[in-house]
């Protein structure tokens, strides 16, 4: 079963801009937007107005587009957190928790090493974020490699543990003494803040995310480890008999994947929030899972899917403000998009079988 070769992927991969690509986009996602329009109508809102708001607030203005990019950074990184383990059929649903632990580690570094100069502090924070998320995921990797617990279950459950752990720290040891009873860490010093570009909120994390994506693609296609991972993903039994250390790979891909999510946590606290809060992520880890899954782990597909879901995420914020809709309407649209991809995929599978 070649999950990577499904048509939803090729669609996302076909690249935007071409007329064909646009047409396929409309055919695939049109129904999702129509159904969502019905939902808006039922809620007593004007769907055309709502879509116009989303469009003008995201793609139509430079500022809007920059906000889409800002959202894409954690989405791309958490998508990689899922995509890397998925190459050897591991299902990491713990991107959210790994993001939180990465943010926690980075926050600890930002508060205790605040005296370091910026050029030294930022790489350390990045490394701490990576290590935090990585170790958190590697724990699930070890449990899986030993054959004790499925990584799907453990990463899912560790999400709750991670979020509660962050809560514990912001209510306790890391609580900002100056912010009365508000559960949050102290404000980061400027040296612990990632640089931003062109006066927008788009920050250096974008460079990290794109770089990570390129390295991911190159490692898979060019290196010994990529070949061995594709072997494990393609036929575990053959890989095992070729002497490829499966257990080692399970732990390492979980560590690297979790590291990506941890990095997303670090960039969020450093560049966007400026401090650690319990409401750090609006579910980036879960949306990242969706992105990786929609794109079958393909690098360009993940970029395309991340753009789409970043627009929807940003659109949710807009609808909250302009249409006074609850913020969770974005989840409805996300779910509809997911159904569209699912339907498309199943139809293709049916055609192959028949």
């Amino acid at each position: 079963m070649q999950r990577a070769a499904s048509p939803g992927v090729s669609l996302l991969r076909a690249g935007q801009g071409t007329a064909v690509g646009l047409l396929r986009f409309v055919v695939l996602f049109g129904p999702a937007f129509v159904v969502f329009a019905v939902v808006l109508l039922v809620a007593g809102k004007n769907p055309m107005k709502a879509y116009a708001d989303i469009f003008s607030a995201t793609l139509a203005s430079g500022y809007g587009f920059s906000e889409v990019l800002v959202k894409m950074i954690p989405l791309l990184l958490t998508a990689l957190a899922v995509a890397i383990p998925s190459r050897i059929w591991l299902i990491n649903v713990g991107g959210e928790g790994q993001l939180y632990i990465g943010a926690l580690f980075a926050t600890w570094g930002a508060l205790t090493l605040a005296d370091l100069p910026r050029w030294a502090l930022l790489p350390i924070l990045g490394a701490l974020g990576f290590v935090g998320g990585g170790l958190w995921a590697a724990l699930s990797g070890v449990l899986r490699a030993r054959g004790w617990v499925s990584e799907t279950i453990s990463t899912l459950l560790f999400n709750y543990v991670a979020i509660l752990l962050v809560n514990f720290f912001v209510f306790g040891p890391l609580k900002d003494p100056e912010s009365a009873n508000y559960p949050q860490s102290a404000q980061f010093v400027p040296a612990a803040t990632l640089p931003t570009f062109f006066g927008t909120r788009v920050h250096f994390g974008l460079v990290l995310a794109v770089l990570a994506l390129v390295i991911y693609a190159l490692v898979l296609s060019r290196t010994r480890w990529g070949l061995e991972m594709r072997a494990i993903g393609g036929n575990v039994e053959a890989a095992r008999r070729s002497g490829i250390p499966i257990g080692w790979y399970i732990v390492v891909v979980m560590l690297v994947g979790g590291g990506m999510a941890g990095l997303a946590g670090m960039t969020e606290v450093s560049a966007i929030q400026g401090r650690l809060r319990p409401s750090l992520s609006p579910g980036y880890g879960f949306t990242g899972f969706l992105i990786s899954w929609m794109a079958g782990g393909r690098p360009l597909g993940m970029v395309a899917a991340a753009v789409l879901l970043a627009i929807i995420t940003a659109g949710g914020d807009i609808l909250q403000m302009t249409q006074r809709l609850p913020g969770s309407v974005a989840s409805i649209l996300m779910a509809l998009v997911l159904f569209a991809v699912l339907a498309r995929r199943d139809r293709a599978r049916g055609e192959r079988a028949g």
Binding site: R224, R230, N235, A238, S242, G243, I244, P245
Partner: protein, 515 residues
Amino acid sequence: MRPPQPEPMVTMRGITKSFPGVLANDHVDLDVRGGEVHALLGENGAGKSTLMKVLYGFYRADSGEIRLRGHPAHIRSPRDARELRIGMVFQNFTLIPGMTVAENIALFLPHLPALLDKGEIAARIQEVSRRYGLNVDPSAEVRQLSIGEQQKVEVLKLLLADAQVLILDEPTRVLAPHEIEALFQVFTNLRRDGYAVIFITHKLHEVLACADRITVMRRGRVAATLARGEATEGGLVSLMFGTVPAEPRFYRSAPAGETAAPLLELRQVSTRGEGASPSLHGIDLAILPGEIVGVAGVSGNGQRELGDVVLGLERCSRGTKRLFGHDATRWSVARIRASGLAYIPEDPLAMAVVPALTVRENMALGDTPKYARHGGFSMDWASVRTDIARTAERIALNLPPLEAVAGTLSGGNLQRVVIIREMARRPRLIIAFYPTRGLDVLSATATRELLLAARGEGAGVLLISEDLGELFALSDRLVVLYRGRIAGTFRPQQTTMNAVGFLMTGSPDAHAASG
């Protein structure tokens, strides 16, 4: 009892089927009558499977005509074929392991009612299985059945679905000698009742043992169709290959160097089998340099586990393993392979090859540390190619196309990929499972030659096979594996195939009982 009908049950005329770059069937004509067992003989890639997949609707012919009992038939899918009472047993069975025999068969039946009458289905299974000697327990789970029993279920499936034309693709490939005999008996029973049985094979003696008529295919064409009475081994071979190859040579056992240090030494090795796989009990086995040790046994008696223990995939729960003079009881697979072990598994597609990767990439998997450059950041594909080409030439096996995706290759080609890959590493010890299975006569000969050549150079070989003829021809020593224990050790010249066969079935005095 119906007499054989004069009108052929199946008539294929001018069937042509091409794949990109290959003309698999070139104007093939075939007649199969009711009440006959028809063998399709030919080497790998001769077009036998393709022709049968056309008949079964799995492929559509580019041109040509199929008639059933004289009427033109349009077979566009296996569903059409089944409605026209054609059934096929593929090399890879299509049973669902977690379901019972009766459930598997019920799933296959046309017009399955919404409410299943399991009792009635079981009764029908028992009636049909008794009639044709296909005895299986309808309530057994398929996962608990041996390969031979699973094959019976596949045949039962077709019979209960009312098929009249039964196609079997290399049915004997996975069977032990006594199971093959039983299968041929089933063929005889089916012939008696007017069924048409077509079976694909490349084993001459099977053809001569049970076929009424034989169609020999060569390079996509029919070389000849003969009645069994007209066929001789030599004649069939020359039809298959166009020329008569040299007489199969008589392999003499090399004198064993009893004094040399063994390459492999298992002492009192036991394993804990999980689930359905058997465990090994107190295995003592040594392989000396320049020695081929054959392992005879019906599959599922611990052969795979024995190979896995040597390879390091399965841990010894008791006992020790020494490789090349070192204690290797706890070595990893990678370390054992690096020390000079080659492994040719029983099922290349499942156990040695990654179907989604190309042949070239699969070749590199045999030894990734060797081909990695810059600490693993890139791969030296040039030296992979050189090694493959050199090895293929050295051991005289045709090289499959390097950029082909492995999953698209035929079984014989996959086997060649694995053999070439493993031999490229110049191993000191070779574990070979059924190494000639699925290979045509020429490739099989080349493979036997290369095992002998490796022995000549001082390598040791652990040869696991069900082909007693092959084991007797190649082995210096022979052990019989039965239920995870070594039931006997022989020199081939000091025993007989019958004696070994009885040990394999766990009945050392069965010949006395059966008379």
